[in-house]
């Protein structure tokens, strides 16, 4: 499906090409349609656009020169990492250049003493932890796509993962970001220290979806690996009981290393694919992890089991070895590809709600599934209220994508109504750009645009993404009706 990007540019194609040819050798500049085609979408395959050109710079000076050239010519630039993003944040702009950072894939330094790693943006998330492992350290944020997704993209999206309730999001684990402004000026956000002078621009860069700067180097914090981790699988005969059990665990003063949930359709999709050994009769399973010293873990697992039992778990299974723990998690982490095997297409939602509303949300999703006649498997980062309903559809069946999109839109609107947000970790991109109007007032949207202009006055970096134009907001309001889109008090 084409995404109607309403931010358009009158670009001088031949002048742009001429300048890029001066800067880059031919193999780093893609011009022909068959070379451009692989770049037409990211992990959100439902939306595609063909870029004018793709550039693959290898050095910071090439990045700077390309940006200076594009800035001078008024040509938009869309930065791109591994393109595993699920919101279309790296989808090309048809008037613009895609800048792939794929060649920036060196781990520049692992320093066990300062517990930091300096990496280029194209380094895969898991590769950082692998490189740090000999020192007993790892990089804590672990998005499920961690074998493929890269650090630059993690910063751009402020990625979470299954352990972020205890260990934080990307923003909590990044010390410094080096990059370039759209004007091609080198800039550093953050420092080797725990804070830096002036406004906390590092916080802004995390989750800025490539709209504020191009990232070329990231310094991340490394965390000592806990001596031991064990996970409890808690099965429930009712998804709402499982939802309530999540609040019960937190209420008991426990902050689990990870607290995840899958419903029956999700475990049924995963089990044949991963063979994690899940009980397929249960309506829901919670994965509740404890980490620390062996005695600490033993104590906490007992406390967790007591709470989960009281919350109505029908059975509890504790991992007995590291291999078993990893297998239990493998099922959860493979949920998206597993669902991808049983349906031609799916949309992954990413709303976050206050934990106490989980049960209510689950009921609503079941009703919406019936309303739209589509199947939905639910995987949740339950500990932080972040939901990933996977809406299954077949793009070849007329009308199914539209129904799936409407289904997803209602889930997101409900997330906002329940006091949450339309996106917890996948970003707005193009996918949620319209529903942003359900969460923010026109004045807030306008403030976001002014903030962007503070970094990118011409609006050339990843245009039309992340923040809707005010015209788009008006259109959404008119289509959806004021009741659906009047932002309720979020707190």
């Amino acid at each position: 499906m084409a995404f109607a990007n309403d931010v358009r540019f009158a670009v001088n194609r031949s002048a742009t090409l001429e300048r890029l040819r001066e800067i880059l050798p031919p193999h780093l500049l893609l011009v022909e349609e068959e070379e451009l085609r692989p770049y037409e979408c990211d992990g959100l395959t439902a939306y595609r656009a063909l870029p004018m050109f793709v550039v693959l710079p290898e050095t910071e000076s090439q990045v700077a020169e390309i940006l200076r050239a594009c800035y001078a010519l008024g040509t938009p630039v869309v930065p791109r990492g591994a393109a595993t993003g699920l919101s279309g944040g790296a989808m090309p702009h048809e008037d613009g250049v895609v800048m792939s950072l794929a060649k920036f894939k060196k781990i520049l330094r692992i320093d066990p003493v300062s517990r930091t790693a300096i990496v280029q943006p194209g380094v895969r998330n898991l590769a950082v932890s692998e490189a740090a492992a000999p020192h007993g350290l790892y990089y804590a944020p672990d998005p499920s796509s961690q074998i493929a997704c890269t650090i630059g993209g993690n910063v751009a999206e402020n990625s979470g993962g299954v352990h972020c309730l205890k260990y934080g999001l990307t923003v909590h684990n990044v010390l410094k970001v080096r990059g370039f402004t759209i004007e091609g000026e080198a800039v550093e956000f953050g420092a080797d220290a725990l804070d830096s002078a002036g406004l906390d621009l590092l916080a802004l860069i995390n989750g800025s979806e490539g709209l504020l700067a191009v990232i070329t180097e990231v310094t991340v914090k490394l965390t000592p690996k806990p001596e031991l981790a064990q996970v409890v699988l808690a099965y429930f005969d009712d998804v709402q009981k499982a939802g309530n059990a999540v609040a019960d665990v937190i209420a008991a003063g426990i902050i689990p290393g990870g607290l995840e949930m899958m419903d029956k359709p999700a475990t049924h999709a995963v089990e044949p694919y991963v063979k994690a050994g899940y009980d397929l009769d249960a309506e829901a399973v919670l994965l509740c992890e404890s980490d620390g010293t062996p005695i600490e873990v033993a104590e906490e697992i007992e406390r967790m089991k007591a709470v989960l039992e009281k919350s109505g778990a029908t059975s509890l299974v504790v991992s007995q070895s590291e291999a078993e723990r990893l297998r239990f998690w493998a099922g959860r982490k493979a949920a998206f590809p597993a669902v991808g095997r049983i349906t031609p297409d799916y949309l992954c939602m990413d709303g976050t709600i206050p934990r106490k509303r989980l049960a209510e949300m689950l009921e609503a999703i079941a009703d919406l599934g019936a309303k739209y006649g589509l199947r939905c498997a639910n995987v949740f980062h339950a500990g932080d209220g972040n939901l990933h309903p996977l809406i299954m559809y077949d793009a070849n069946q007329p009308g199914e994508l539209e129904r799936a999109t409407a289904f997803g839109g209602e889930i997101l609107e409900l997330s906002v109504k329940l006091g949450g947000t339309v996106t917890g970790e996948h970003g707005v991109g193009v996918e949620k750009i319209d529903v942003m109007a359900a969460q923010f007032t026109p004045a807030e949207i306008a403030a976001f645009h002014r903030l962007k202009a503070a970094f990118d006055g011409k609006g050339l970096l990843n245009p039309g993404k992340g923040i809707p134009t005010l015209a788009r907001c008006r259109e959404y309001t008119q289509t959806r009706g004021a009741a659906a889109v009047t932002p309720p008090p979020r707190f």
Binding site: V113, V171, S196, D200, P224, T421, M436, K452, R490
Partner: protein, 359 residues
């Protein structure tokens, strides 16, 4: 809309129109911090109260003028806390001031800073527009992260009215250990321990002694105490409080209080920073306090070569005006700062000159 907010909006409009400035002030406990700022005081202390608090959500929402002491007492009743231990620096400290100052206490290196716990803000910008960013959920990437940007912004971007914060359970167990140790050895030890899964919550090195606080599960604290050695310090609460509130003799002693106090935020692995005056080290080596009369440029160069920056934390107004309170920004960052000020407060109403003289 509440009458108080309406009144503030009116004052913001009037000030913007007349080209005048407003100086946002809570309890005034951090008046000393940053540069002296011009303008009529806009007092936030009447806008107080906890709006919502649900321990099972780990989230509390409070109006900006809420006394910090009141917020912390409410959390403590439910066995929870602000883990970053923000300094009050006076009985009047407010929640809004805590976020605006962005200062964190002894546990910062273990648990994160104020900014890491800010989930949402409601604010009035320089146009008098009431805006809400973020919310009360842990994960939220809709729109730019304005709430965290507000932490440490010293009121230069707007008037925060309501703040939503993540909270955590109080650690079940704690213990304080002390070691006789040189500065060099302490820095080495702290960085080595930092690479191990030890429940180290806070550290202070001063005058040949390293004081270490452990916090966490009972079993973890007990095991760490075995592994680390050192002397157990009884009733260490007062000591940590004196570090957090800077009532420790290093900060408040009569002899030293006249000299300037520099805050150097540096890489934890940076070697001892040579200065004429006495030093106190926190945050596993990442925060170095320096007392003395050395030149601002010299201190800032030392901080920069140690991977960080230097703040003239306490000192005479004349010295601050001459040297600047905060580390100078690179030209590109300075430009972004000016643009952001323009974006949020185009008429330059709020806290002019408090952070940098040019805005």
């Amino acid at each position: 809309m509440d009458a108080q907010l309406k009144e503030w909006i009116g004052r913001i409009h009037d000030a913007a129109k007349a080209g005048q400035q407003l100086r946002i002030r809570g309890g005034g406990s951090k008046d000393f911090y940053g540069l002296p700022s011009a303008g009529d005081v806009l007092d936030t202390t009447s806008w107080r109260g906890i709006v919502s608090y649900e321990p099972t959500e780990l989230v509390v929402v409070a109006r900006a003028g809420t006394p910090l002491a009141e917020l912390e007492a409410t959390l403590r009743e439910k066995g929870q806390c602000l883990p970053f231990e923000p300094p009050h620096f006076g009985s009047g400290a407010t929640v809004g001031g805590m976020v605006a100052a962005g200062l964190s206490g002894p546990r910062r290196s273990a648990v994160g800073a104020v900014r890491d716990y800010v989930l949402g803000v409601k604010m009035l910008d320089g146009n008098g527009e009431l805006l809400a960013f973020g919310g009360q959920v842990m994960k939220n990437v809709a729109g730019y992260d304005v709430p965290r940007l507000m932490a440490g912004s010293l009121g230069t971007l707007g008037l925060m009215t309501e703040i939503s914060l993540k909270v955590l359970p109080l650690p079940p167990a704690g213990m304080t250990l002390r070691f006789a140790m040189s500065e060099t050895d302490a820095l080495k030890k702290l960085n080595a321990w930092g690479g191990q899964p030890l429940p180290i919550a806070a550290s202070v090195w001063h005058d040949g002694a390293l004081t270490l606080r452990l916090a966490g599960a009972v079993a973890a604290v007990r095991a760490a105490r075995q592994a680390l050695g050192g002397e157990e310090v009884a009733d260490a609460g007062a000591f940590w409080q004196s570090i957090r509130e800077q009532t420790h003799p290093y900060f408040a002693g009569e002899k030293v209080s006249a000299a300037a106090l520099w805050r150097l935020s540096v890489a934890s692995v940076a070697p001892p920073i040579c200065c004429s005056g006495p030093t106190l080290i926190e945050w596993g080596g990442a925060l170095r306090w320096l007392r003395g009369d050395q030149g601002a440029e010299q201190v800032r160069n030392l901080a920069a070569s140690a991977g960080g920056h230097a703040t003239l934390f306490r000192g005479e107004d004349a010295l601050k005006t001459a040297a600047g309170a905060f580390h100078p920004l690179s030209p590109v960052l300075a430009k972004i700062h000016r643009n952001l000020k323009q974006a949020f407060d185009p008429a330059g109403v709020f806290n002019r000159g408090r952070m940098y003289p040019e805005f």
